[in-house]
């Protein structure tokens, strides 16, 4: 007998933000970066998605994994931080934002499939980057995530230096994203960069043809 028609794959595949995400700390702030490709199987359903989501004025998170899961976590924590900052009557700490993300990621780890990198600036500890993969919580000088990150571990490990300033960090982020987007089929599109420091938050987009090129271009 004929097999039942299941329709095109991309209708039933989970929508993932294939993704490359990165966040790095410098003295006085952080820089976050992401690509913009959202894929459902082999179909690109959104080529310009901004995966850097604000949790508070000076705290952002980078989304990877299941698009719905990641977005929902980000929106929940954004809400929780809004209430929290009103209750304590001051700007929340980056660690608080990261802990809130971690608590959701850990509690629902069997049901969720998303990894958020939390990064931002607060008065007490200046720039901080936290990884929350699988429900852990750890502060790191920089963090990479998403399917594209596998292709650039070697690059970031070799190129990272302590004590880089904001501009060097921005360049580091752009280079990493560009390399990952070149090699990873699930990453691509444009690069979004967010820089946060004591003075404010700056969002930037770098279009495909403005990205740095390497040996094959």
């Amino acid at each position: 007998s004929m097999l039942k028609e299941t329709g095109p794959e991309w209708l039933s595949e989970e929508v993932k933000t294939g993704t490359t995400i990165i966040a790095i700390e410098f003295d006085g702030g952080v820089v976050l970066g992401s690509d913009s490709r959202v894929s459902a199987g082999s179909s690109v359903v959104n080529r310009v998605m901004n995966k850097l989501s604000p949790l508070h004025d000076k705290i952002y998170c980078a989304l990877s994994g299941s698009a719905a899961d990641a977005q929902t976590i980000a929106e929940m924590v954004n809400y929780q931080l809004d209430v929290h900052s009103l209750e304590i009557d001051e700007d929340p700490q980056v660690r608080s934002a990261a802990t809130l993300v971690r608590n959701i990621s850990y509690k629902y780890k069997e049901e969720l499939s998303a990894h958020l990198i939390v990064a931002g600036w607060d008065r007490k500890n200046k720039g901080q980057v936290f990884a929350t993969l699988n429900g852990l919580l750890t502060r790191q000088p920089f963090a990479v995530g998403g399917s594209g990150s596998s292709y650039v571990y070697g690059f970031v490990d070799a190129e990272y230096r302590k004590g880089m300033n904001k501009e060097e960090c921005q360049q580091f982020v752009v280079n990493t994203l560009s390399l990952a987007m070149n090699r990873d089929g699930s990453s691509g599109g444009v690069a979004y960069i967010v820089s946060i420091d004591e003075h404010g938050t700056e969002e930037k987009v770098i279009l495909g043809n403005d990205l740095p090129t390497f040996f094959d271009q």
């Binding site: 009557d89 700490q93 990261a98 809130l100 971690r102």
Partner: protein, 239 residues
């Protein structure tokens, strides 16, 4: 106050809630607890009346630890105060669990004050018959001091009552002054025996709230006893 003082859910014609005022009387009639915020920390002192010679020294503590960084000194009904210290500990613990860091003192004070206030709204319960002082020290925010009374108001300590020079003194110096004050306010005739409970939180303890070490306490008591007849007296944040 004929029939307007029977429950906390009744106002008197002149807008008072007598049950709350009576609860405050329990604090007024209690022995003294004070806390002084100084340059590098907060020092607590309590005039702990010893009701029986059969009690072990150090029993019925009136200074509590809330988390690692907050101290709480109480006056009034000790049983009520103990119950509130558990509430404060629970608040601090769940804050740490949710947000990953020490609870800010103002927030803790607001939360416990809200809890105390809730017990002034219903006739089924009575208000808490105690006031307490919360203090902490943080290297970024400095020393902080809050007080909560039975009506559920959280007061922040300002320097309006303190003489200026106390602001500039360190914990080690203030410990002696706190001991002195407790000895001065203690009425030898009315209440016989008392124990001086002293604790501090500040740079000297790296931000942890602890009972003052034995040698520091002995030195403070020695100072207090010799200066009892002394000169001017200031009581700050005292209840």
């Amino acid at each position: 106050s004929a029939s307007y003082d029977l429950s906390a859910s009744t106002f008197s014609p002149d807008g008072r809630v007598f049950q709350v005022e009576y609860a405050m009387k329990a604090v007024e009639n209690s022995s003294t607890a004070i806390a002084i915020r100084c340059k590098d920390g907060v020092v607590f002192g309590v005039e702990k009346l010893v009701l029986s010679k059969l009690y072990e020294q150090g029993s019925n503590k009136r200074i509590f630890n809330i988390d690692r960084h907050v101290g709480m000194a109480v006056a009034g009904l000790l049983a009520d105060a103990r119950s509130l210290s558990e509430v404060a500990r629970e608040e601090a613990s769940s804050f740490r669990s949710n947000y990953g860091h020490d609870i800010p003192l103002k927030h803790l004070s607001d939360r416990v004050a809200m809890y105390v206030h809730a017990y002034t709204l219903y006739s089924a319960v009575r208000p808490f018959g105690c006031s307490f002082i919360l203090g902490s020290y943080d290297k970024d925010d400095g020393p902080q001091l809050y007080m909560v009374d039975p009506s559920g108001i959280s007061h922040v300590s300002t320097h309006t009552h303190a003489r200026t020079h106390m602001k500039e003194m360190t914990c080690r110096e203030i410990v002696k002054e706190v001991a002195k004050i407790i000895y001065i306010v203690h009425d030898e005739v009315k209440d016989k025996a008392f124990e001086l409970e002293l604790s501090w939180v500040g740079e000297v303890t790296n931000g942890r709230h602890e009972l003052v070490p034995k040698d520091v306490r002995e030195e403070a008591e020695k100072y207090a006893k010799t200066r009892e007849q002394a000169d001017s007296m200031f009581i700050v944040g005292s209840i």
